[in-house]
Amino acid sequence: MRRLLVESPGLLTTVQDLGREGYGPIGLSPSGAADPVALRLGNLLVGNGPGAAGLEMTLLGGSFAFPEGAIIAIVGADFGATVNGRLVEMWTPHTLPPGAKLNLGHTKNFARCYLAVAGGIQVEPFLGSASTHLLSGLGGHEGRAMRKGDVLNLGVAEIQPRARTISQAVLLSLKPRRILRVTEGPQSDQFSEEAKHSFYRSTFRVSEESDRMGLRLAGPAVMADTTGQMITEGVPLGAIQITPSGQAIILLVDQQTAGGYPKIANVIGVDLHRIGQLRPHVEIRFEQTSLGVARSLWVEQEGLLSKPESLFA
């Protein structure tokens, strides 16, 4: 069996696929790649189904050895990947000879870089998914981030991938954004017109205290009217909740499933993979849109992703 050896794990590297959805009744959030679009494209490039497991790296990548060789693709943020010391092109498959070493460094642009491998990374599935849920230590490889010395098994590649590259036009249309489009949140009426105005006019900075559960934002305090006490309710991915001190938090893939903070807005579907690419210190803004616009953008994006022929250069 082909293997991947972790020689250095990077800052936070976990096994992720597209997550396990549907476990709200037991309080389990879906997890999965924070930028699922990148992982899907990576899997497509190496000939996997969209839901195969890869490695998600955060801000600083790791070093990995492939004693039996492998077919890989590097997608998502640019971590300056090299194979045996030579820079490798992103968004295209590479065949690595036995003994090859893959090195990744600090990010040059966004938060998360993905390693997709032909055959996928094989771990014991938990509730149908390989994704690591860090909060509970479940799924993935022993429920935790990679450590030096870890050995991961690779699956058998289904088809020999062709040497194709994702087109620049497609990458441009899926590119991370600093202006996130949002729809109104269920408690937006708990915020005065002034507070909402300030929320949509202000720039927020992603704080270092951000993780796969949520992105904490620094910026002007957004105060809810304290009169509206709310009952804890379900919270969706991309919810922008406001703490009693006025801090905004955007919920990410390892999110808590229910919460009692008022939610002023929610990031729309086509921008959810983009919040997974926001790194600390980046400045962002919010732009309100309608449910109708959000839906037509979603249908368009999913349409694009479901037609592989249209994705390649």
């Binding site: 709200g24 037991i26 729809t183 009952i231 804890t232 729309i268 959000a294």
Partner: protein, 224 residues
């Protein structure tokens, strides 16, 4: 029944505007109806005190169709008869290092720690829903005499199996996670077991009782 868009792919269904059993029974019945015959577009459902959040496949439906289906399901759900709930007993070793907030809670209410233990363990609680972390059951209603607000600043790490209170709620932390509830004891039982069915020790709608145990009993029951 009231709807509100939670996001472009999730709708909140409110079945009451307060915490209590009547609203929660409607939540349970709609959950049952959804699980019995899940619509093709259903991706997830998060039940809570008086609401459900329904996540749908936006490529298959729009929110208007989701709401129409949920309205129909709610009609049908009213005829569902729920089976008798399960009873779950949770042994708890209260106080000392297992319950570092027990003395503060007692002081805040002018009670002795033993009285807080007595009040906490003499009530049957209803498991309203699981949330926050897998297996974390929101149990209510905690008697008013010991209802205590959350800590002002949450702990970075709450030990797994800690028994805690916040407002009119009580819960057991299944995993070692951050948390802002006040810790009054610890159970030797494992709350989330991936090798059992169901995985969660406390499921939605269970009737839960806490039984005080000694440190010796705790050690005996603790998993190795």
């Amino acid at each position: 029944m009231r709807f509100c868009a939670a996001s472009d792919q999730a709708v909140l269904v409110y079945l009451g505007e307060e915490i209590g059993l009547p609203a929660h029974e409607r939540v349970l019945k709609l959950l049952e109806a959804l699980q019995e015959k899940p619509p093709v577009w259903l991706r997830n459902v998060q039940p809570c005190y008086s609401s459900l959040m329904v996540t749908f496949d936006l490529a298959l439906v729009d929110d208007a169709e989701v709401k129409a289906t949920l309205r129909e399901l709610e009609q049908r759900a009213q005829t569902i008869r729920l089976p008798k709930p399960r009873t779950v007993e949770i042994p708890v070793c209260y106080g000392e290092e297992f319950g570092p907030d027990l003395d503060d809670v007692a002081k805040m209410h002018g009670l002795k720690p033993s009285q807080v233990i007595q009040i906490h363990s003499s009530q049957t609680y209803h498991a309203y829903f699981l949330g926050f972390a897998p297996g974390f059951a929101y149990l209510g209603d905690l008697p008013e005499e010991i209802a205590t607000p959350r800590l002002e600043s949450p702990r970075k790490v709450v030990p797994a199996r800690s028994v805690a209170i916040a407002g009119r709620q009580t819960a057991v932390y299944p995993f070692s996670t951050p948390g802002g509830w006040r810790l009054i004891g610890r159970t030797p039982l494992v709350l989330f077991r991936t090798n059992q069915k169901p995985m969660e020790l406390i499921s939605i709608r269970d009737q839960v009782r806490f039984r005080p145990i000694t440190r010796e009993q705790f050690v005996k029951l603790e998993p190795t």
